[in-house]
């Protein structure tokens, strides 16, 4: 029904219970779908992939699960202009690169001191909680989104 490594499964269970939420088949399935191909799919795409292995899952549930995973900090929601949200199961700090030609989004590893150093550009008095960096341009050819 799902394909979720033991470590991913316990990562999920811990994050859910930390938020006082239950581990369900649907939540596991959605998380598994995201981890399998780290290509930043939309809710509709997640729905399609989840249905292949869990045909009775509903779109509403996909939205619910994605929202839950985002709130547990297991998944990030990405928004480009007014397009449908995309979802990223990479819970580490990283930037995103959107390829203008193929429409794909690549995760970009950030240097250790990045948040600290970029925060220096703020005038005195600004207290930063989060920094988001998004690149747009052309990614190198033949690069798999799973590889980053």
């Amino acid at each position: 029904m799902v394909t979720l490594s033991n470590t991913a499964k316990s990562h999920l269970d811990e994050a859910l219970s930390r938020s006082g939420l239950r581990s369900t088949r649907q939540r596991e399935q959605i998380y598994a779908v995201l981890l399998k191909r780290r290509d930043h799919p939309t809710a509709d795409e997640v729905y399609a992939r989840a249905k292949e292995v869990m045909p009775t899952i509903s779109l509403a549930t996909v939205y619910n699960c994605l929202e839950t995973l985002v709130e547990c900090s297991l998944v990030k929601r990405l928004n480009y202009e007014r397009e449908p949200s995309r979802f990223c199961p990479n819970d580490g700090e990283h930037a995103h690169f959107l390829d203008e030609v193929n429409g794909r989004v690549y995760d970009i590893l950030l240097p250790e001191d990045f948040q600290e150093s970029v925060t220096k550009i703020l005038p005195d008095g600004f207290e930063v909680k989060k920094v988001k960096v998004t690149f747009t341009g052309y990614a190198p050819k033949g690069l798999d989104t799973n590889s980053l």
Copy 2:
């Protein structure tokens, strides 16, 4: 009808004609509204402000004009999660800071070498066209959005 400095007016006219577009009362009005209070209003807010001085303008026109201004690179469109787009008439390179408490967006001046230096974190082969930086947190109290 509109309040647009001579320099702003010619800035607008030049950008429009550069794109082969006409300068209209509505486009001038929308641009004037944005310049008057640089607080990153939504299309609805722009509509409300424009109607005060041009009561017959339509919401469709506001959307059209905003889109036109964005395409002329006179205005930037900002998107936060799934909220309505906001618009910024600051055409220079800058970052944005969203205050989580008051919901306001502040323009953040970027250092000269910023784009160049942040681009260094990309692996070889990525060709950058644009970098977007967005901060979230708490802005200093009593700061006017027009002042930045």
